[in-house]
Amino acid sequence: MVHTPQAAKKTRTVALIGNPNTGKSSLFNALCGMNARVGNYPGVTVEQKVGRLTGTSECIEVIDLPGTYSLAARSADEAVAVNVLTGDLPQQAKPEVAIVILDASNVERNLYLFSQIYELGLPVIVVLNMWDRIQSEGLSVDASLLSERLGVPVVCTSANRRHGIDELKRVIQQSLQSQAALPYPEQLARAKFPAEFHDEVKSLSQWLESKGRKSSTYQVDRLLIDSDGHFQKAICQSGLPEIAIRIDEARVRLQKAGCKVPMFETKSRYAWVRSLITGAVVRVESRSASASDRIDRWLTHRWVGMLFFVLIMFLVFQSITLFAKFPQNGIEWLQSQASNVVERVLGPGALRSLIVDGILAGVGGVIVFLPQIAILFFFIAVLEDCGYMARAAFVMDKLMTTVGLSGKSFLPLMSSFACAVPGIMATRTIENRKDRMVTLLIAPLMSCSARLPVYILMVSAFVPATTYAGGWISLQGMVLMFMQSLGALIAIPVAWILKKFFFPGEPATFLMELHSYKWPSMMVIYQRVWERVVAFVMRAGTLIFCTSILVWAAAYFPGDHQSLDESMKTLEELHSARSKWIDKQLPTSSDDARLSIETALSENQAAIDSTIQRVNEQRSALIRSSFLGIAGSWIEPFVKPLGWDWKIGVAVIASFPAREVIIATLGTIYSLGSDQDEMSEGLQDQMKLAEWPDGRPVFSLATALSIMVFFALCAQCSATLMTIRRETNSWRWPVFSFVYMTTLAYIGAWLTYQCFAFWS
């Protein structure tokens, strides 16, 4: 991830920093193309994005820092931004230039962050992005006057239209070549801080130095200003807890002297900013802004706004299910074609089984999510870029606060009803880490589309087809609906508990900027979708690959597959013989010949049928003796209270990598071959016939309900767990999700079975 020492000699590093929603990622893409390396900073769950400046012979690395409003370092994101800029992050070279991106339509508020960065002692380049918007916002910005007053180069860009990028590249190279003059202390905003504060900084610096912890002026400023901030915590934890007392005493002294902490900082900085922009940023009467306000009055209106929101969500999720179907069918077709080719080339055996049942089935099962992910991120990108996403969070916030989350969690949770993988990836739009973690951990409880086949199988086989209200309401439909909503209902107390015990602390702030509406940029949308698709294929894909091989191996070994392979071979020979007979049938005209062919065909059919039966019996015997089957008999005492026999136990274990696998596994175990779908009569009949040793049927309504409840609550999806691993950069959270969801599922299934078995 991080460059090697020999490359470091030649590589120059610059950092890109700015407020959220300033078009920072579009600018980054415009500077570096689409070949950014995306990873995580060591030890923290903050995304690290590094790219190489394109169009230059020199190797200039651009670090895209997390969007932040301030360097006050309260969250992990802000701490990373500060540590990168000050060169305090291990394995990360200190950038030589800081590129500060400002929203040209909101220079005043954006310059607040600039005033802090300017004090770090780094050469700075200011980028006024979204330059194309200032006219419609009714603003006039004098960039050269700003540059003169700030004492740094100012470049105007419209990153999503690729305007001003070459100029910016030129300025970056120039700044790297010539040693830019750093500002005089009097030029900085902190020169406007009260004299008492400067005195306290001096004495605290001396004290820290006497303790062998020389700190920069910037760090000492932050220690004194941010109550219980990032630097204070870091110094306390590193064995100098006395610092807290020193800081408290200094704050009391400042308070007595009439210097209100932290108010004086923001006040001084904004006063400094205003003195700089007066005359350089002028607001002429705006027209478009009020048009945006008029749209807003409707889109956030009490009834119209709600209706519009529901319509948009309906459109998004209908599109995911409708449009994803065709490419998904295509992917499945490709997968079956690939399997056919392999089956033609390789005879039955371990290698073929590994490729077809392990690799192709496993990887195909993941790639099949790709269309859903691309479509969801297309809509997210459109809604985000046109400015509606912030309004959706605005509209839904009140509802989501009832479970301790914010409006920003709504869309990720909603998309998890289609599939938790894109849903978890969409939690990136939530800036607050605690909210993001809770959302990410409850997202797999939403009933995803892979659970539906399981419900359909169980409901149609074991729930009576009773109807009420003259045939309008069916019991099966009601059970189906209940199962679909069960996860979401359970998610409410789970979110509450997670928030209370695992991510406690002060309530998250929901200060959110609401930009004017604008037309979405195709370039931005394309980039967002592409980025997410590549990330998904690369990360989840490689890990899924390994998981599917492991599960395949557990189901394949240690059994002796020789006789099964022979039966399979016989079966394939019978099939090819059959097609030869059929080919002969057409040109033949004589009745005798036709009759003999028909006899041969029916003999062939009988042979095929008996071979299939043999194959299935052998398969099911092999499963029984495989590691998976051994595990099945081992867990039988644990699953018996849920009303399950070892076969269901094995099917459930095998479906931990992907829950929809249960249908194919049940099919295999019930000796029907593995080509089963949820509506197949054969599987339903076989399940109805299954008996306990004492002759009671295995499957009752109670058992079917207990299986469904288990599936509704269990984390049986390795793609989801791997996505959690990737998004949190830790194994802790996928393990946590797995444990809590499996526990919930077990308890839920046990309660369901015991209640219904007692009741019926």
Binding site: K260, K267, D296, E506
Partner: protein, 80 residues
């Protein structure tokens, strides 16, 4: 304290006021100030979300959404 001072969440739709003080010195207060809500700045209420919370305000030439728990930390004085 001046008796005409009210909390920001009491401001009606379309009304404007001047910020008097941000109450407290915790993260919420710092965040509000960092976002430019500082004494003597004018602020106006643009509209409420369908369920009555949060509320959209205009300050320093941009729009910000604040929850009631945040806006009641902002003391304002209505313009005469």
């Amino acid at each position: 304290m001046n008796s005409r001072n009210i909390n920001l969440d009491e401001l009606g739709q379309g009304e404007s006021a001047i910020i008097v003080e941000i109450l407290g010195d915790d993260i919420v207060a710092s965040r509000l100030m960092e976002m430019g809500l500082i004494e003597d700045e004018p602020i106006s209420m643009v509209g409420r979300a369908p369920m009555g919370d949060p509320t959209e305000y205009a300050v320093r030439g941009y729009r910000i959404s604040l929850r009631k728990s945040e806006s009641n930390r902002v003391l304002i004085r209505k313009e005469p």
